[in-house]
């Protein structure tokens, strides 16, 4: 008979004894090995590659032969005259997506909830999800055409607002709008799915109780529905905060051009351009590390905040 464990064990765990565990579960651990190898090679090894950021990396000399230069690459990145601009663009674009895009999806979900013709509702939903499945390349292609000098959107803006006729993708002032609205087209419907599901989970009894107390439809939305889906909203918010530094990267890469770098260049596109096109590996690795660290910090911070404020968290 094995000696009984002195420590407290969780209610559901079996005898928490290493030998017993390995004997029982060796096949499970074995199954994990290929996954572990994969994670190590493709996710954790690159993390060690971060050392590039502190070196004057030379592909020939490799990780071990390149000269160590401390924080020089970071200083180079921070003192790049465009640094603040790049940072600003990243934050503006991401935060626009979060603080304008999320409420839009939530609003759509709330409005859809007020549609009672089921067939109509289903059809609208199906159509609204569709743009999400269109590839970024196609969307970029559509945008490029529609905002070109004689494109459909350009024509619209010229006739309604009287703006100067031009290729809107050469004017830095339009980029944030172009990017946001194409993101919206693609993501509005899809983003609403999760809120629709959450709304449908709100208890009917609460609604009826509120209605009996004389609450109008609008009041019920504000006082019953929204509080009920708050955990979902916060979870989504936390997830998106974690992606602030990286989101939207590939579409921006397709849409931008040197004439609009001042509003279109974000940290991740800067990293890609410097590293892959200009082969400034160390600089690029440093900028990339900066990006990752900020992203992780934001994720952890917003997760902690959500745990404090709303009692829900992802980790």
């Amino acid at each position: 008979m094995e000696r009984i464990e002195k420590k407290e064990t969780a209610v559901t765990a079996p005898k928490s004894n290493w030998k017993w565990d390995f004997r029982m579960n060796w096949s499970i651990y074995l199954l994990f090995v290929p996954i572990l190898i994969y994670l190590i090679i493709f996710h954790y090894l690159p993390m060690f590659g971060i050392v590039m950021a502190f070196q004057d990396f030379n592909p020939v000399k490799g990780f071990f032969g390149s000269e160590f230069v401390g924080l020089k690459n970071f200083i180079d990145f921070f003192s790049n005259p465009s640094f603040l601009q790049i940072l600003r663009n990243t934050l503006v674009i991401s935060l626009m997506g979060i603080f304008l895009g999320m409420p839009a999806s939530i609003l759509l979900a709330l409005l859809l909830n007020e549609i009672y013709l089921l067939k109509f509702k289903k059809v609208v939903q199906t159509i609204s999800y569709m743009p999400y499945f269109v590839s970024t390349v196609v969307i970029a292609g559509l945008v490029i055409e529609f905002v070109s000098t004689n494109g459909v959107i350009t024509n619209l803006l010229v006739s309604i607002f009287g703006i100067e006729r031009q290729n809107l993708l050469t004017n830095a002032g339009y980029f944030w709008g172009i990017n946001f609205f194409s993101d919206l087209w693609q993501g509005l419907g899809y983003g609403s799915i999760i809120y629709i599901a959450a709304i449908s989970g709100v208890s009917q009894e609460q609604h009826e109780a509120a209605a009996i107390d004389g609450a109008s439809r609008l009041k019920r939305v504000w006082h019953v529905t929204l509080p009920a889906i708050r955990p979902t909203i916060i979870t989504m918010l936390v997830m998106r905060m974690g992606m602030v530094m990286t989101v939207g990267f590939d579409k921006i890469l397709l849409l931008y051009n040197p004439s609009i770098y001042e509003t279109a260049d974000v940290v991740s596109t800067h990293v890609a351009r410097m590293g892959l096109n200009r082969m400034q590996y160390s600089y690029s690795a440093a900028a990339g590390l900066f990006n990752s660290v900020i992203g992780t910090t934001l994720l952890i911070a917003s997760n902690m905040l959500s745990r404090k404020l709303a009692d829900t968290s992802i980790y």
Partner: protein, 294 residues
């Protein structure tokens, strides 16, 4: 449901239904425009400035004929199908396996989960990953696309949740019958999570079909391995129809190039849009697997 049929309510309904109709139109119109343009006469196309509701000029399938016969497009299609197939099969397999492993209550469960979760929170970055792939010698080969794309930590977590939500009675009665963990997984639990596996597979397929960036950095020297999206990028974004039209005897390169853009767009998006209505209900379920609480 208690309802008051006030004027305000009726006005709101009119607005709401109207809004939904407008939304649906906005979602469809760009694609419809492209479809109509792809069937139009190239010459008339150059002069159009609005949204096309039907083909302009004489409807023609010439653009499509050109596109379907084009070797780059065919290459792209074949490659994309290869990459999507591998991701769907290998990726889903490993993801499900990983999800299963992480759902078992073993002593190392927490450690393994953190190992997986951490990769979602922090990454080495683009350049270090590129260097690793370079050193592995998979740059400019198919593997650079297939392997990194195989496992997605987010889907592993979804599979894990899915396994964990199964009532433990299945597992317990199997254990009583003497089944080992492997048997339990394959013969009992797998059939039960089929729906989630389908969702993960579907998302993987769509993601992989639309993916272009990894190919753009890892396959720079091997056009013959390019997925369809990369050829499409060349045509649609970089406006470079020279490659695609070279070798064909089209009377007017500029006009045809324009038409070809539309046809290529449809050809590259159609498969997804066709499958879409059928799988729509599955992915709605899939999205909620990740986030809805309670």
């Amino acid at each position: 449901m208690i309802e008051k049929n006030s004027v305000g309510r009726i006005a709101f309904n009119i607005f709401n239904y109207g809004f939904m109709i407008a939304l649906s139109i906005v979602c469809i119109i760009p694609i419809w425009h492209v479809l109509m343009a792809s069937l139009s006469d190239p010459r008339a196309l150059m002069n159009v400035s609005g949204i096309l509701l039907k083909p302009i000029g004489e409807a023609t399938l010439n653009g499509y004929r050109l596109v379907m016969k084009n070797s780059s497009i065919i290459t792209g299609y074949i490659n994309t199908i290869i990459y999507v197939g591998c991701a769907a099969v290998l990726g889903t397999l490993f993801t499900t396996l990983a999800g299963f492993v992480l759902s078992r209550k073993t002593k190392l469960q927490k450690a393994m989960t953190i190992l997986v979760l951490f990769t979602m929170m922090f990454s080495g970055g683009l350049i270090p990953s590129f260097m690793v792939n370079l050193k592995l010698g998979i740059v400019n080969t198919r593997w650079a696309i297939i392997i990194p794309g195989m496992i997605n930590a987010y889907y592993i977590i979804i599979m894990k949740s899915s396994f964990e939500q199964l009532p433990s009675s299945y597992e317990e009665s199997a254990k009583l019958d003497g089944a080992g963990p492997l048997t339990i997984m394959v013969r009992i639990l797998m059939p039960l999570v089929k729906a989630t596996v389908a969702v993960v597979a579907m998302f993987t397929i769509v993601l992989q079909w639309n993916s272009w960036f990894p190919a753009s950095i890892y396959l720079q020297k091997r056009r013959d391995l390019w997925p369809l999206q990369l050829f499409m990028r060349e045509i649609l974004v970089q406006n470079d129809t020279a490659q695609i039209l070279s070798g064909t005897d089209t009377p007017n390169i500029d006009l045809t190039g324009n038409l070809v853009k539309y046809c290529v767009t449809i050809v590259g998006t159609l498969p997804i849009l066709c499958i879409y209505p059928f799988v729509q209900k599955y992915f709605v379920k899939g999205v909620t697997l990740g986030g809805v609480k309670g």
